[in-house]
Assembly symmetry: C2
């Protein structure tokens, strides 16, 4: 469990990790890597993002430890470093779905009460 009183340093690190996931382009890259290791070029083609853009986002994901890097010839292969990332996404997606259900139920409830 995260400490009750969190040091500013840890909080800073924590926020940087979350910020790295707070960008659709980077999530796209992580999702693309879900199927396994891919080269930069493959990621460019797969995501439709620009090459320089992909390269920079990969640097950030690497700096946060989300992906690993393997050089082979002129190619650079990136891969998910730890499946934990997807645990985070799953928890978050779960909350989103839950809220959408709640919102839907509330709307139905309101519509019903208007009806009666």
């Amino acid at each position: 469990m995260a400490p009750k009183a969190m040091s500013p340093a840890l909080m800073q690190e924590l926020s940087e990790r979350f910020k790295a996931l707070g960008e659709p382009a980077r999530l796209q890259l992580l999702m693309a890597l879900r199927g396994g290791e891919m080269s930069v070029g493959e990621l460019v083609e797969s995501t439709g993002l620009g090459q320089a853009n992909v390269s920079k986002h990969l640097q950030q994901l690497h700096a946060c430890g989300y992906v690993s890097r393997r050089k082979e010839g002129t190619f650079a292969y990136y891969a998910i470093a730890h499946a934990d990332v997807f645990v985070l996404c799953d928890v978050m997606c779960g909350r989103i779905e839950q809220e959408q259900r709640a919102r839907g139920a509330a709307l139905r409830g309101r519509a019903h009460s208007v009806h009666t």
Copy 2:
């Protein structure tokens, strides 16, 4: 489990949730609320952030569903809406610790090899 192929809309929502956590000030607020419901003024004092700043960050946390809001007189009391947030922090903190341990071990290993 998060879907293999994520819709752009879900990815957008997901990134917005993560982005909301990608800010030390907002994490500070969430951590402060760990002890229970607090008013805006109490949060201002507890965090040392400006009143307007706190109010705006709380709006964002509320929009993402992280906190609930209860009005009582001229006071507004905010509270953690779902403990899930802390699950996310815990997973993330776990990864940070793990990496720090790994980094430390690597450094010790290198020092040792230099020594021998």
